[in-house]
Symmetry: C2
Subunit: 235 residues, 2 copies
DNA sequence: TCCCTTCTTTGCGCTAGCACAAAGAATAAA
DNA sequence: TTTATTCTTTGTGCTAGCGCAAAGAAGGGA
């Protein structure tokens, strides 16, 4: 947790949030950022905490979860490097609606909420970029909402795996490894089902040669067949 | 479809999107707006149309729906007066991801997308307001996502009715009338179930004195009991 | 090395809710 | 008024997926 030293403007330049902002301006923006590090499984903040920081992930993965009133947990999304998160709370001045957990070693930049608001007034492009990020995110949620409202569990799991693969997939010679530790429970919380059903589904897929799965790990052997499962409307 | 005559700045002033913007600036912003009228059941735009206008609803109700690949429809939300919609597409430069239908007689203001972008640069507060609107909307979607992922159909229907009541409820002496035409199919498309299940559920609730329902119409007789259904974790 | 914890698999019974069918009710059209 | 259309209800059968239990399997720590 140290003020950024040196000149990290170039680091910001490659991030969506800061696109179309001059390096000169980025320098000034960067001056207001703080850098944080978290270890695997460490909490960045909890649902209900007062929201004071606007975060951009630099390295690692962050998991955003929400707890229901009766104690069930769901996974809203995984954050990848370059993505902003906790945008919501800073702007609506309410507590964090989600819990953020470091999935692995994480490093992030953050801005104090008032400061970020000032910066947005000063550099409207910053607000506009945030807007288009949120717009995309709403779309994703709309899609997932439709998915969960209309589609069967098997297909939802297929979709979730494909999504994860595109975010954190590592190409191996025999398939695509989803490169985070991912329990059956995690997959269930992403797709609105139970760990039992996920386990059964993966077992079946393993028999069919679609995936290969170990403890907390899934490798997609046949992305093509998985896509068919996820999208073929004739099924 | 006519350029706004007169001085509608005061009309904008009461809208969230334009909060904290001076009347003087609102005048200028209003100059760029166009006003449109639509009749009941008329389409404002279709999913897939190129997105060129940023809209704010003035009077009436608008329904936003999405069609799945296999032709199922879902209702994403109802827009109430004062709310902005089609924000997404303008910023992400993609086709409208939803279809917008006038639920009743509708009047709205709209801005051409490029113009709105210019205005946001000129009046950053406009972008910041949009941000906080989108932020709230994301939260709503997250909540509904969690709801549909973790809760039973009966509770989801209860929630949907309560939400509708708070948006478009009209207080009567014997209850709250949901003041739009609302089929069983509509309720099903909002909650991710079938019209049959909705019909059965309403029938049961009618027996229990919770609601009274006619064709395309629902009146909540006991909001309290409905809240219990929607929220009581011991059930 | 052994123990303990966490994760996974699988069997089994059950039920919420879907799907289809068919009839009834309300509204619109002719 | 009659007819056509749209919406709603209800019966019936069925199955996807849940929930519980219990037994492996894989790490991790002492």
């Amino acid at each position: 947790m140290a003020i950024l030293a040196g000149n990290p403007a170039h680091l910001l330049a490659s991030i969506d949030l800061f696109s179309q902002i001059s390096l000169h301006d980025l320098d000034k923006i960067a001056l207001n950022a703080t850098q944080h590090e978290y270890k695997k499984n460490e909490y960045l903040f909890h649902q209900g905490d007062p929201a004071r920081r606007f975060c951009v992930l630099v390295t690692g993965k962050v998991k955003l979860t929400q707890l229901t009133e009766d104690g069930q947990q769901i996974i809203l999304r995984y954050v990848s490097p370059g993505e902003a998160f906790a945008v919501i709370a800073v702007l609506s001045k309410i507590p964090y609606p989600v819990t953020a957990t470091a999935v692995n070693q994480v490093s992030l930049l953050s801005w104090e909420d008032q400061k970020m608001l000032e910066l947005m007034h000063q550099y409207p492009q910053l607000a506009i970029n945030s807007l288009s990020i949120l717009a995309t995110r709403i779309q994703e949620f709309q899609d997932r909402f439709r998915e969960i409202a209309t589609e069967r569990v098997e297909r939802r799991i297929a979709r979730a795996l494909l999504r994860l693969a595109s975010q954190t997939g590592r190409k191996l010679e025999h398939g695509i490894l989803i490169d985070i530790s991912l329990t059956r429970q995690d997959l269930a919380e992403m797709t609105g089902t139970t760990l039992y059903t996920v386990s059964r589904t993966l077992s079946q897929w393993e028999k069919d040669g679609l995936v290969s799965s170990q403890r907390e790990q899934v490798t997609i052997l046949s992305p093509h067949k998985l896509v068919v499962l996820a999208e073929d409307m004739s099924r």
